[in-house]
Symmetry: C2
Subunit: 427 residues, 2 copies
């Protein structure tokens, strides 16, 4: 059997052009590692004349995706978004090609169908690049932790929001100013919605939760709260208390009962391993039954780091085609119910503006008591005129209970405004 | 084909007994994940009546290793040390059994022969548990980073020395007192030589370097310096400069020229990701060509965490036996020369006792200059009588040059003693 493997790359943007460069530059090494001679024989682009980060041989460029797919043993999909990526990936898998994708949106939405198609056609689907750039969390969950039980997964998996929150924390900037800075520096897109509303993190959360809990989890199962409501005051108050604000992807297993998947901004103590994850870096923490805590840390985005993840998949995929074996199949035997995220327990911190008069603290406290939420700390700032600022933290309670507290506080006549409600991560 | 896989466990100590417990307790999960029904049918021990952490069914226990190996599809070797482990593992591989081992000493010494034997018999050798307990660094290097080039690897991979150095750092204890504490708490053995002299870290360094650089590296290739020379003064001086002392395993590639592997105690700035790795935790940092910096962090030892690593290998190994495919073979195509470790470059910090009289600083400085080493900082403490303490740090220089400086300082009549010479990690 020839060990030649023809590779089609769909999309030659930031990641795609680096993938092509690395395949060309490290051909001998990749062959030594995979047993396969890898040859890129088509690069599908929308515009043949676009300027690219790496100059691709003109004869490889094509706009005909179907012909490229049909001529390939291995298809690398780096277009992003649902269509036409979905159609292309289905076509490739149906023809028995190995597919490598970095498309989190596609997987979080249609992962189940793609897995089934790969299995039905006796081929493999790889997606290390879809979650947290260069960090090998897909390998970690699919293989490294396969002999253990993951209880909880906690990640900083979106570089844009991490950059914005960092800016706010280090410079005291408002959310709007920090977003503008991020856009100027190319860390945020012109339309930043997918990042700042937490949707990108939610897609990654769904993919990681599926792998961690051997259960299908789609993006629609993830409760999402973004960072657009985070204010300079939230960040300053956090700093005062030795904490930072981070956008977290959180997935957890409640025994045999089911799983919970959420994305939300939270207060993270400075002593927590995730507190030091700054800028474009990502990290994923796993709390496991036997292994205890594991952390994976690295660059969460960028052309070259993400291309590195694609190339690892390429070595594995090519090796399996030439030497036999398969990528791990979809593991969904546990088939745990996805629970209502409002059941998830957490500690909360609230900032309120209240009327400055006797009896207010008792009234506010009673709202928590009425809803079965116990307070851990209460502190009141010096009043400005007849308005006082209250900062309260709770013992562990459910999101549903906090929602009830929040509603009742909003209706209370002594509460002028609920400035913020944030979860606190860690002990 | 039956999916039953018979497992023999050699050794039922801290890790072995947890492995047996986990296989028994999670049989259904392991079958769902691997496709194989796993049955422990022999546990080889030296003494049938020893008390164990987990009560093993009496009928499984045996002292006959050969019979146990011959009756098994998968052999898990957790005896440790070279013999009889080496003989047992060779027997198992020769019979085509899959071998899973946590034996770093064996691999660092005879890994090449075992790899060849596995390949010749078309079977697999797994060893995630041999390096850094629960941290999946073997998976990381064998698979996750297979599409990239590792330039440098930096690890805290020995929990005993990390505990001792932590104790010294947090309590101001001497090395001897911290070692005694570690022994009392079970973090250090009665004979702590392998840990404190850096030999355990060196074995792990050799294994990781082999995987990272696709080159055979044995423990004899690793330059080793332990922590027995570290004093309370070293630790206090480090703290004064915003640093901590850590025992590091360091392996690096110098382009096509070759590789270097070393274990030494170094000064690590508090802002460095490895500075926060305390107590029984381990971490490995990889600096890669495309992916940039990746870090893996977790528990480096202990029965249950290490058993988790064994079970991941068990799932992979059993799955390959039942569903086809193989573990990655030994990858040594790069076959880079292992260079003389004294070529390795680093910044150094020295503490000297010198005579308190005019011209001393000039004389000391000239020793560095004569050997082509430039000084970065020099500070002198207030003299006690006619003895002054000098603290100096250098620009990047080679170990060989520093050895020359050290020899000349020792002979200088103004230098009363060279108190310590430590490398500084990071920028």
């Amino acid at each position: 059997m020839s060990n030649l493997q023809k590779v089609a790359v769909l999309g030659a943007g930031t990641v795609g052009s680096q993938v092509i460069r690395l395949i060309e530059e490290s051909q001998a090494e990749l062959e030594a590692r995979s047993g396969a001679k890898l040859e890129v024989n088509a690069v599908v682009v929308r515009n043949l004349d676009s300027k690219r980060d790496y100059e691709i041989k003109r004869e490889l460029l094509t706009t005909d995706a179907n012909a490229a797919i049909d001529g390939a043993d291995i298809v690398i999909e780096l277009i992003g978004g649902i269509e036409p990526a979905f159609t292309h990936v289905k076509r490739a898998l149906s023809r028995g090609a190995t597919v490598i994708t970095g498309n989190k949106a596609l997987l979080a939405k249609h992962g189940a169908e793609l897995y089934e198609l790969a299995e039905a056609n006796d081929t493999d689907l790889y997606f290390e690049a879809a979650v947290a750039g260069a960090i090998p969390i897909v390998y970690g969950l699919r293989e490294s932790i396969a002999g253990d039980r993951v209880n909880r997964l906690l990640g900083i998996v979106n570089g844009t929001t991490n950059f914005i929150l960092d800016q706010m924390s280090t410079t005291g900037a408002t959310y709007e100013a920090a977003l503008k800075k991020a856009q100027e520096l190319g860390f945020a897109e012109a339309d930043p919605t997918a990042d700042v509303e937490g949707l990108d993190a939610a897609a990654k959360c769904a993919i990681m939760a599926s792998l961690a809990f051997h259960t299908r989890v789609s993006i629609d199962d993830v409760e999402v709260e973004g960072i657009t409501g985070i204010t300079a005051e939230d960040v300053a108050e956090a700093a005062k208390n030795g904490m930072v604000v981070k956008l977290l992807a959180v997935a957890q297993r409640r025994g045999e009962e089911g799983i919970l998947a959420q994305v939300y901004p939270a207060l993270v103590p400075n002593t927590h391993p995730l507190a030091m994850v700054s800028g474009a870096f990502n990290a994923v923490l796993l709390d496991n039954e036997s292994a205890g805590r594991l952390m994976f840390y690295g660059q969460g985005a960028g052309g070259t780091p993400t291309a590195s993840a694609v190339l690892s998949d390429l070595v594995a995929g090519a090796s399996h085609r030439v030497l036999g074996g398969h990528a791990p199949r979809e593991s969904r035997y546990a088939d745990l119910p996805v629970l209502d995220p409002s059941m998830a327990q957490a500690r909360f911190q609230l900032r309120l503006k209240v009327a400055e008069r006797p009896g207010v603290l008792a009234e506010v406290s009673s709202v928590f008591g009425n809803n079965g939420v116990s307070l851990l700390t209460v502190s009141q700032d010096v009043a400005e005129g007849d308005v006082a600022s209250l900062s309260l933290s709770t013992h562990t309670t459910s999101g549903a209970q906090m929602d009830a507290v929040r509603r009742e506080l909003a209706e209370s006549e002594v509460v002028l405004s609920v400035e913020s409600v944030l979860r606190i991560e860690g002990e």
